[in-house]
């Protein structure tokens, strides 16, 4: 069956089952309206937080899901914090990031022991650092977007993934987080990939026993700035 025929046949079969025609303007209007309105459905109470409360909630949730969280006041404290974290975990003082503007402006030389590589993730990366655009505190969920700033491969190839997020970018609900992305990507639509990350990689496929680091990072460390 040719492709266009398959399309027509399936859509016709759907319409036949629904008992509708393809000229029903009322249905068309209903759909067009819904697609435009972005109306939230029920948002749980727990997600209705902002500011300090959102920061506290996201920290609690992430830690409950096997990630670790630390806080710094200013971006220029990040290198020291990362150097410390890598030492504590016996990890090499070496990492990779993308071209993210915030990460690029950090005075990495402040922690002279650190070596920064840039570019997309490699199969043998030990540590990578990304910045999250936004986050939803309700389930401790970081929103990371693809592109040269924060290549997606950095989120999945390393053994240890460090994610930096500004406190002011943290929201309570997924709905609020989408609105940040909708605003940021108004013209071009969503980036190729949006990763919602809520902890380190895990599997329970062998006898339902949870093991960290199935294919993605074994460790997820989140640094909240501000």
């Amino acid at each position: 069956m040719s492709r266009s025929n398959a399309r027509k046949n399936i859509l016709n079969a759907v319409r036949h089952s629904l008992g509708v025609t393809d000229t029903d303007t009322v249905r068309e209007k209903t759909v067009a309206k819904r697609l435009k309105a972005h109306k939230p459905n029920l948002v749980p109470e727990i997600a209705k937080v902002s500011g300090k409360k959102a920061v506290a909630l996201i920290s609690e949730k992430l830690e409950g899901q096997g990630a670790t969280v630390s806080h710094v006041d200013k971006p220029d404290q990040i290198p020291e914090r990362i150097a410390e974290y890598l030492r504590e975990n016996n990890l090499p003082a070496e990492f990779r990031t993308g071209d993210d503007s915030m990460l690029s402006q950090i005075p990495w030389s402040k922690a002279s022991s650190l070596t920064r590589h840039t570019g997309r993730g490699q199969g043998d990366d030990a540590v990578t650092i990304s910045r999250a655009d936004t986050a939803a505190a309700e389930t401790g969920t970081l929103f990371l977007t693809s592109g040269a700033d924060n290549p997606t491969t950095l989120n999945f190839l390393p053994d240890t993934h460090i994610v930096v997020i500004r406190a002011k970018d943290i929201r309570g609900s997924y709905e609020d987080a989408w609105n940040i992305l909708r605003k940021a990507y108004k013209k071009q639509g969503l980036p190729r990939t949006v990763n919602l990350v809520s902890g380190p990689s895990r599997t329970a496929d062998i006898e339902q026993i949870i093991v960290m680091g199935a294919h993605g990072p074994r460790r997820l460390h989140v640094i909240i700035v501000g």
């Binding site: 069956m1 492709r3 398959a6 399936i10 859509l11 079969a13 759907v14 319409r15 036949h16 089952s17 629904l18 509708v20 759909v31 819904r34 697609l35 972005h38 109306k39 939230p40 459905n41 029920l42 749980p44 109470e45 727990i46 997309r120 309700e138 389930t139 969920t141 693809s146 592109g147 040269a148 290549p151 997606t152 491969t153 989120n155 999945f156 709905e175 989408w178 639509g189 969503l190 190729r192 990939t193 990763n195 919602l196 990350v197 809520s198 380190p200 990689s201 895990r202 599997t203 329970a204 496929d205 062998i206 006898e207 339902q208 093991v211 680091g213 199935a214 294919h215 993605g216 990072p217």
Partner: protein, 471 residues
């Protein structure tokens, strides 16, 4: 795969004698079931969210033609392609063509139940292309040439020892003296082996938990991150999915995601939820050059117009099988095709025909737990009854069974006889059943071989009701 659903009865009795299987399935109660209960208790709005999730899907299904068109338009605008496939055969052919055009030798795969439904692996293999399952559970069953036994935990029927034995058999390049006793060691070995495959693959195939019409996005939900490595490393990304997965907006996706992980594993949210829109953009250092969505119908458009329409709301969370006493006793393979448990009992006859799978709806005690936990409030027992009625009308029911039913129906329509009979039989059974249970009983060996039959206690309901009225 060739269905063996016709043989449910013998499949099931084999499963009941399978000790490793019994031990593997025994973990469900303390795992999935307990975790779901906790997640539900921790979210006061959970029941209301179930209603909202159902409403989202009902709305989407009632306007499915229009949302599919809107979705397709967005996929195309963002540089992707949609391939409509009426049947499993069409979907397989579309996927093979994309792989051939890409000159693919190896294909990595994220977990996809639609992929299982169309049996894509065997098809690609026959065409000289090597598919590699990357979800740990799927990898395990691929090594064993088995179908999944659960829709979210495909290897739930296996024990650690079986996995160790399989790894020793398959990974012959590794030193035979290595220790593989702990799950951590097994996972580390699979990780190292599959990492190479991820980096070498020409095409990555994933499924989709949801499609979003507003943005032309496909969504996958995983804990391992394998689906992500499958789709961000190779040059071509294929999504194999089906028409009922589309929802209108990101907000609608949120609602479904809020009930999905909680119902499935009992997590509040899965580790990775990934939204994918088109191929890589200009200037992106990673991501595929091509993004294809193969959109399968395979009987779903027809279901939309009949009594099984509610089944199209299913989000494949697995809660119904986790809570099903029949599934818990026989496991998923007894159901004989790719979808097991209560959802499989309803869906399978719709997809492969009532002649093949008409027995499955009998694999139920009608206890109603599946419907009680289904996040999409699908009336699974009612739909299993629909199939039973059809089977009965088609004359596919065994003669002895029919005779029994006729006798019962004769008595049931004559209350006086019915009450007299139950009034005699019930106290008799109660006296015969020592300690309140029968461990064997003539004509009920099928039941009592694997579990006790409770003996009736005291008087019948009708007798007690009359006494109560008399008070």
């Amino acid at each position: 795969m060739k269905p063996t659903s016709r043989a449910f009865k013998s499949n099931a009795s084999r499963a009941l004698r399978d000790e490793p299987l019994k031990s593997a399935l025994s973990g469900i109660k303390h795992g999935f079931v307990a975790n779901r209960a906790r997640a539900r208790a921790n979210l006061p709005e959970f029941e209301d969210l179930r209603d909202e999730a159902r409403a989202v899907k009902e709305h989407a299904l009632a306007h499915l033609d229009l949302y599919l068109e809107a979705y397709e338009k967005k996929v195309q605008e963002t540089g992707g392609q949609v391939h409509w496939a009426a049947s499993a055969e069409d979907a397989r052919a579309a996927i093979l063509k994309i792989c051939r055009d890409a000159g693919a030798k190896t294909v990595t795969k994220g977990k996809s139940m639609v992929g299982e439904e169309i049996a894509i692996n065997a098809y690609l293999e026959n065409a000289g292309i090597t598919p590699v399952e990357t979800d740990l559970g799927e990898y395990l069953i691929q090594l064993r040439h088995e179908p999944p036994s659960h829709i979210i935990a495909p290897a739930i029927h296996l024990t650690k020892d079986q996995v160790e034995a399989d790894f020793r058999k398959a990974h012959t390049d590794l030193p035979s003296a290595r220790t593989l006793e702990e799950p951590e060691q097994l996972v580390a070995e699979a990780r190292a082996i599959l990492r190479e495959k991820f980096l070498a693959a020409d095409v990555g195939i994933t499924g989709a938990n949801l499609l979003i019409a507003e943005t032309g996005t496909s969504v996958i939900v995983t804990n391992e991150g394998n689906g992500d490595l499958t789709q961000c490393l190779p040059r071509v990304h294929i999504v194999i999915t089906s028409i009922e997965k589309v929802v209108p907006t990101l907000e609608d996706a949120d609602t479904i995601l809020r009930v999905l992980a909680r119902s499935a594993t009992g997590q509040e949210f899965s580790t990775y939820t990934t939204l994918t829109t088109g191929p890589k953009r200009e200037g992106d250092p990673d991501g595929p050059d091509e993004y294809h969505v193969v959109l399968l119908d395979n009987g779903r458009s027809e279901m939309l117009g009949g009594v099984f329409r509610d089944m199209l709301r299913c989000i494949r969370c697995g809660a119904c099988m986790n809570h099903c006493p029949v599934y818990g006793a026989v496991g998923g393979h007894a159901y004989g095709w790719v979808y097991p448990g209560p959802m499989g009992a309803v869906l399978t006859p719709s997809l492969i025909g009532v002649e093949e799978a008409g027995h499955l709806p009998n694999a139920s005690t009608f206890c109603g737990r599946c419907e009680a936990v289904c996040p999409m409030r699908i009336p699974l027992p009612k739909m299993m009854r629909h199939w039973r009625e059809r089977e009965f009308e088609n004359g596919d029911t065994p003669t002895l069974y029919k005779l029994g039913l006729k006798l019962w129906a004769f008595a049931a329509r004559r209350p006086a006889i019915y009450h007299r009979l139950t009034g005699i039989v019930s106290p008799l059974l109660s006296r015969l059943g020592r300690k309140g249970r029968f461990s064997s009983m003539p004509l009920a060996g099928g039941w009592t071989r694997y579990r006790d039959l409770p003996a009736p206690q005291g008087k019948t309901f009708q007798q007690r009701w009359r006494e109560r009225d008399g008070q």
